[in-house]
């Protein structure tokens, strides 16, 4: 590693961590309707939204009503996007006159963007009109992230409130998350990216004549505005097919730094937001400690592995150094690994190099990050509510060990809460192992796998893990655009999204109604190193025991077979 590699890592942590406490407090104030410096700008817009929608911002909802609103909004968003993709050839802003998407692909894409997954079985520059990208995908990029944030604050209120029957108002939470939470940061990042070289235009693709006299088409479009939200909203769906590996999506090392930091900037801040809701920032620091421990373990393994020369390329005529297949020269090994680890720790799924060509152990770190449920920072909102589920499970385990009724921040965890927690524990196994096993046993799947040996299995495993975890990155060699994969992966994404959201809202409702017991001398403290260790081990054990056999068949077998 060179000095610029260390600078990148230092700068990355600085950009993510320094603003986090302030941003976290800002999100708390915004979501609770307190006045901030942005209120004069967005306050009038917000009020217009409520008036048109007929929403009373003061009227709170029970968890059932909150859930119903969320589902209605997501369903409407899905139907609108599905229609735009099917009929884009009849709609304006289609300068390349691209046809509508085939219906299973349109279903897959619409589900993918509604669930904040942004799995892409298409290549943007070749198949989507500017209108589809902008009014279709960009909108879901915003509101799917806002939906995640809304669910998180509902859970925070559930934990923080005493004997309450309501969790807030979904319409208000979603609107505030979009306007105050996402738009301002996106504007800043989008303009920074244009400065660095990302196109932002509605003009046609440009015809160029290369220096050696060959015709070359330069694809353009309103890319920067979409790339900003795809990073900040932990979406990940690229404007171009190869995502941020494309020099137009991520043109420089500086653009790369801010794009990769943008992936977890909001998720890290939301850990502090939680602390404000429960009026105890020690809880935030403990949870952040666990997330960092897991991030550093995965990051170190991935970095070490990716710097080993590929033994199968051993030859006197070939330079023996860190592998470069699928990587861009301007990012190098560290820039690519940092992105791979961050994008899978969060539910982002954008890539700046090809995951399929990573060393086996780096690919495995990406898989493990997703398999543990994307709670290492995780998606906007989704990461933190996923992490809080793990916190409750760890508290439950601790309660069993010391023989007391488990309680978290004064709230007793009883049978109903534990049942709901168990439901969420089943989401990833069902999505990855059940759907993945069905896919593996269908004969047609073999034709979609493009690498031989254990790596071929990893391609399939990665696809179903990525869909169920709502990540969206891929071992992209897999020919995922078949009706079978489009529908099955779409199903995986729905299970992975609503399999968490519904139990989380029920849990929030149930916790909100409880009285809060005073935290006494005998309560198990959830902010010290002991709890951080317990939480970290819980996450690794639950994920590890479930998925270790599949990892052994895929990346571990590949690693052992390559003669490292």
């Amino acid at each position: 590693m060179h000095s610029y590699d260390y600078w990148l890592i230092i700068a990355f942590f600085a950009v993510v961590l320094v603003p986090a406490p302030f941003l976290g407090r800002f999100y708390y104030k915004v979501m609770e309707g307190q006045r901030t410096w942005l209120t004069p700008v967005f306050g009038p817009v917000e009020r217009v939204c409520y008036r048109v929608a007929g929403v009373d911002a003061q009227q709170e909802q029970s968890w059932q009503k909150y859930m119903l609103a969320l589902l209605a909004f997501n369903l409407a968003g899905f139907l609108l996007l599905f229609s735009i993709l099917l009929f884009q050839d009849y709609l304006p802003l289609n300068p390349q006159q691209l046809p509508g998407q085939e219906w299973t692909q349109a279903f897959n894409t619409a589900v993918s963007f509604m669930t904040n997954t942004n799995w892409q079985s298409y290549s943007g520059e070749a198949t989507l009109s500017y209108l589809s990208q902008m009014a279709g995908l960009t909108v879901q990029n915003f509101v799917s992230a806002a939906t995640g944030l809304a669910v998180l604050v509902a859970l925070c209120r559930g934990i923080g409130r005493k004997s309450a029957s309501t969790l807030g108002n979904f319409w208000v939470d979603m609107t505030r998350a979009t306007l105050y939470g996402l738009l301002p940061l996106c504007l800043l990042l989008a303009l920074f990216l244009v400065w660095q070289g990302v196109p932002q235009t509605f003009a046609h693709y440009v015809d160029a004549l290369t220096l050696q006299g060959v015709d070359q088409v330069i694809p353009l479009g309103p890319a920067a505005s979409q790339i900003a939200i795809k990073q900040l909203g932990t979406n990940g769906g690229g404007f171009f097919g190869v995502n941020s590996a494309h020099p137009f999506e991520d043109p420089t090392a500086w653009a790369n730094l801010f794009e990769v930091a943008a992936i977890i900037m909001i998720p890290v801040a939301l850990v502090f937001t939680f602390g404000h809701y429960v009026k105890d920032l020690r809880q935030s620091r403990a949870i952040l400690g666990c997330m960092f421990a897991l991030f550093l373990i995965g990051g170190s393994v991935s970095l070490w592995s990716e710097y080993q020369p590929n033994p199968t390329l051993s030859n006197p005529a070939v330079e023996q150094t860190a592998p470069l297949e699928g990587k861009e020269a301007r990012f190098g090994t560290t820039g690519t690994v940092l992105w791979s680890v961050t994008t899978t720790a969060a539910s982002n799924g954008s890539v700046n190099g090809m995951q399929d060509s990573l060393s086996p152990l780096s690919g495995m770190v990406a898989l493990v990050n997703m398999m543990v449920g994307e709670v290492i920072f995780g998606g906007v909102g989704a990461g933190m509510y996923g992490m809080l589920l793990n916190v409750l499970i760890a508290v439950f385990l601790a309660g069993l060990m010391i023989g007391r009724t488990p309680e978290y921040l004064g709230k007793k965890l009883q049978a109903r809460e534990v049942q709901l927690l168990v439901v969420t524990l089943l989401v990833m196994p069902v999505g990855v192992l059940v759907l993945g096993a069905i896919a593996a046993s269908v004969p047609a799947t073999a034709a979609t796998i493009t690498n031989p040996g254990p790596h071929g299995f990893s391609q399939l495993l990665y696809a179903y893990t990525s869909a169920s975890a709502n990540n969206g990155s891929a071992f992209a060699g897999l020919g995922a655009n078949t009706p079978f994969h489009n529908l099955m992966l779409g199903l995986g994404m729905l299970i992975g999204r609503f399999g968490y959201i519904l139990p989380v809202l029920a849990l929030a409702g149930s916790l909100a109604m409880k009285k809060s017991a005073p935290i006494g001398q005998n309560s198990f403290p959830t902010h010290g190193p002991l709890f951080v260790t317990l939480l970290t081990v819980t996450i690794l054990l639950v994920g590890g025991l479930t998925f270790l056999p599949t990892l052994a068949l895929g990346p571990i077998a590949e690693h052992l077979s390559m003669g490292f």
Partner: protein, 181 residues
């Protein structure tokens, strides 16, 4: 029921107008004024004003007289761009790398830099590490009957070294400067 449907539909329309229309338009407006070059694709033009490419998109260079770009899995196609997605253990990767190495290797210059043997993530990587340019110096100098030291100086002028990323040379920019020598 209408207490759910009305807000769902109207907020969806409003969010589409705000985030799907107003937001991209505002970014486009500001970008076209503040950074018109970059916003329109960082296009490179010749003396007559004809577009010869984009400084961010690789071009294919063949023959002895040019510095070659990184190999492209998608044959430098821009619509759509693509990568090899070969796994590290795939025998096809080793076969391709060994084949290319045998063709490119220059006797006495040591092993071929890996960047010249591996395809990039985008298939459109506009850069090469300096040492991969250096490996081509002797060939280009001989073909153009120029002293190696002149080309070495030209290469050094084109090395970009950001604080947070590896040093790179833009191959199109270097080749355009080469034409002007």
């Amino acid at each position: 029921m209408s207490s759910t449907i009305r807000p769902a539909l109207s907020l969806l329309v409003l969010m589409t107008l705000i985030t799907g229309v107003a937001y991209p338009l505002v970014v486009t407006g500001v970008a076209q004024v503040a950074f018109p070059d970059q916003a329109n694709g960082s296009l490179v033009r010749d003396a007559e004003g004809k577009v010869r490419g984009s400084s961010l998109i690789a071009q294919e260079f063949t023959g002895e007289r040019w510095f070659h770009s990184r190999p492209s899995a998608g044959a430098f196609a821009t619509v759509s761009s693509s990568a090899s997605n070969l796994g590290p253990s795939n025998p096809a990767l080793a076969a391709r790398v060994f084949d290319d190495a045998a063709k490119i290797q220059v006797p006495g210059q040591g092993p071929v830099p890996l960047a010249l043997l591996t395809t990039s993530g985008s298939g459109l990587d506009p850069h090469l590490p300096p040492q991969a340019i250096a490996y081509q110096l002797a060939r280009v100098a001989a073909a153009r009957q120029l002293p190696v030291s002149t080309l070495e100086r030209l290469m050094d002028e084109h090395i970009e070294q950001p604080l947070v990323g590896p040093p790179v040379v833009n191959v199109l920019a270097l080749n355009m400067a080469l034409e002007k020598l």
